[in-house]
Subunit: 411 residues, 2 copies
């Protein structure tokens, strides 16, 4: 264990004290706060209940767009997307004129807290469910960094670890399963026992949350599983800090029909076919559970479009919550303006935004659509197994304050 009297680490303008015991930061993908509330109510998450009672529990605002990549990167950099540059899972790269995944570390504009501590001598480990996040989370970092999805492919050279399956004692899980997240927790516990990392980041996937509402048997089973592993990390002496990348809402009518506004169709009818370009930054290679349908879109408009006129037309569409210009969205949500379209569109809680009906495969949705991306999924849990100290009342807490709180404000 490094001495806590060492010089604090500075990352992206914030200062982090050295840890006095192992610190485990957990990002539970799609964890609408009610998932935990209902699991506690059902009696299946007694350790989570104890964390809230004896440690600390509050709500925090995640980054909007309330998607996975922007929020995971905010958590590990301690900064908003205006600083780290990752404002979607997917964006339109104006340099190449192509729509691309924002998975590559070349898009990252800031260093991570994980990298900074590891380079200063701390033992750091990262386990993420899907491999898409691994490269960015591990950027510049020494130590262990691998995904459940490719756990069998991990090598000492690339991931700082090998024989992960033997360590965890589980097979590689399906990418569409609750097991993919369980593997993250099981690996976290195994690593804590074997290596006792100073700082560990565990990031799950929201496969369960996209399918099952808070309080249902399937959701409760997921949180019961999580409860057990987190309790073990607590017993091993770690500070355990939990947050989420975003919440999760039903996106259907009462009968389960998805409430979709097809923005490309709207623009094609108003401005001419193909003249506007609608980007859905929720898009990723794993769309079976959400059909690339979320509540946030950014749109590039033709040079002759009247933005005020387009905005007025869009806000009148039932289900649209708000429309912002690039500058407004960049300011309000702390986003990098050069990676936004001319406008940003946010849907209401029960609505999602699509491009055209033909470009979304709804047949892949096995259950009524639940998704995220909007302001309606901005509130996420912030829970610690120890009390917090010296947090000014009235401070607007963000999910990306979690490392600051765990290192600088936790007993």
């Amino acid at each position: 264990m490094p001495s806590p009297t060492r010089t604090p680490i500075e990352v992206n303008g914030r200062s982090y004290q050295w840890m006095r015991q192992p610190v485990v930061v957990v990002c539970v993908d799609g964890c609408e706060p009610d998932y935990i509330t209902q699991a506690i109510e059902a009696g299946v998450a007694p350790f989570l209940a104890r964390m809230c009672e004896r440690g600390a529990s509050t709500l925090a605002d995640c980054v909007v767009p309330s998607f996975t990549n922007p929020n995971n990167l905010s958590i590990v950099t301690g900064a908003p997307p205006s600083v780290h540059g990752i404002c979607g899972n997917f964006f339109w790269d104006p340099d190449t004129g192509q729509e691309v995944m924002m998975n590559d570390a070349k898009y990252l504009r800031a260093g991570t807290i994980l990298a900074a501590f590891s380079n200063a001598g701390a033992k750091v480990a990262v386990v993420t469910a899907k491999d898409k996040l691994r490269a960015m989370l591990g950027h510049g970092m020494r130590g262990i960094c691998f995904s459940s999805e490719k756990a069998d492919k991990a090598t000492l050279a690339d991931n700082g670890i090998e024989d992960v399956l033997a360590l965890v004692g589980k097979p590689v899980p399906s990418v569409y399963s609750a097991d993919l997240s369980e593997f993250v927790f099981a690996a976290g516990v195994a690593l804590m026992k074997r290596d006792r990392p100073d700082l560990m980041y565990l990031s799950t996937t929201d496969y369960v949350q996209h399918k099952h509402a808070p309080g249902t048997a399937e959701a409760n089973a997921f949180y019961a599983m999580m409860n057990g592993y987190l309790e073990e990390l607590d017993r091993l002496g770690a500070v355990v800090a939990i947050t989420a990348d975003h919440g999760m809402s039903a996106k259907t009518d009462a009968g389960g029909a998805p409430q979709i506004i097809y923005l490309q169709e709207w623009f094609d009818a108003r401005l001419g076919a193909g003249r506007a370009r609608v980007i859905l930054p929720i898009t990723d290679p794993y769309v079976v559970h959400h059909g690339a349908l979320g509540s946030y879109a950014t749109c590039y408009l033709p040079a002759d479009a009247d933005i005020a006129d387009v905005t007025a037309g869009l806000v009148a569409v039932p289900g649209i919550e708000a429309v912002y210009t690039r500058a407004q969205a960049a300011r309000r949500f702390e986003l990098p303006p050069d990676r936004l379209g001319d406008i940003v569109v946010i849907a209401e809680k029960l609505n999602v935004l699509g491009t055209t009906a033909s470009r979304h495969d709804l047949s892949a949705l096995e259950v009524p659509l639940r998704s995220h991306g909007g302001i309606s999924e901005q509130k996420v849990p912030l829970i610690f197994n120890r009390p917090l100290h010296n947090v000014p009342s009235g401070r607007r807490l963000r999910n990306f304050d979690i490392v600051d709180l765990a290192l600088n404000h936790c007993a």
Copy 2:
């Protein structure tokens, strides 16, 4: 059955065709759409699933404040509160200088569709769970109008019916129970069999919804119960139309602690003790399930208060979604300005507004707080057991369009 070729009935500027078969309009109190979605997913509401598939299902906007009285009165008058005058369960009467329940028909400024049809010769019946709504719903109406709560007290003179318990075959239920709503449905079926009313209005209570999240066993049991009675009404040949007075949201952090902003304390600190008056229009005599905590408040300010300054201060409080002046709120939500304070305050989805900590008995909350009142609970189901015709696409549907849709647009 009256002839459907009779002259349509005009009420509050809208025209209603005569029914060709019995029409049953159901207001399911606190029915966030996901309650029905999850009950269908769980397989316990097959008739509701069939209604959505073969009839019609969409979402509609309820009235904000998303409370019981304003919305029930909007449904039966087909008009917003600016027309009928009921903008809360509770208000400050400037004529008397007192805070009073808005239960008395003397506060009603518009006639109801129920009264108009009954006075034109239609057989009309109303059953409501709590007695607080009965006087207003039955105002000016001939026919049957009683509550589950006081079913044993119903008389021919006052309620148009006697011996209700014998008709329904159930005892008077507890006011804090799911049975109070089941009694409404059971009475509706019994009345349909015995009297075959032309127009029936059934209005339940949200005791279950305040306690249990969509998809939980208790919530699913409620919707399974409702599914059975509605199927029976369908089998008896009625048009069945379902909506809600408002949705329902968790109002806690992940640990289940209520997220309360005490507005009177805020005003007392800013303007001096007792100088502003905070009115919580959710207040009613039955506060055990919500502690008089909802997401909407209206506030009377002292004459020397700077409204712009107060507004700027309030919107900066974490958990406040929006603050409107009286005129803005009256326009945006179609409310009667003379029954609003100087400002209207709306809380975010997971927050509620209180007066002072000492005036809310949180010990009465047996489970994590779930409540309503804000914009976050504005979306409600609108479901029919027959297809709808000639509804213009792009029409913003309201829950109080339900009688128009059932009589003028239903097959």
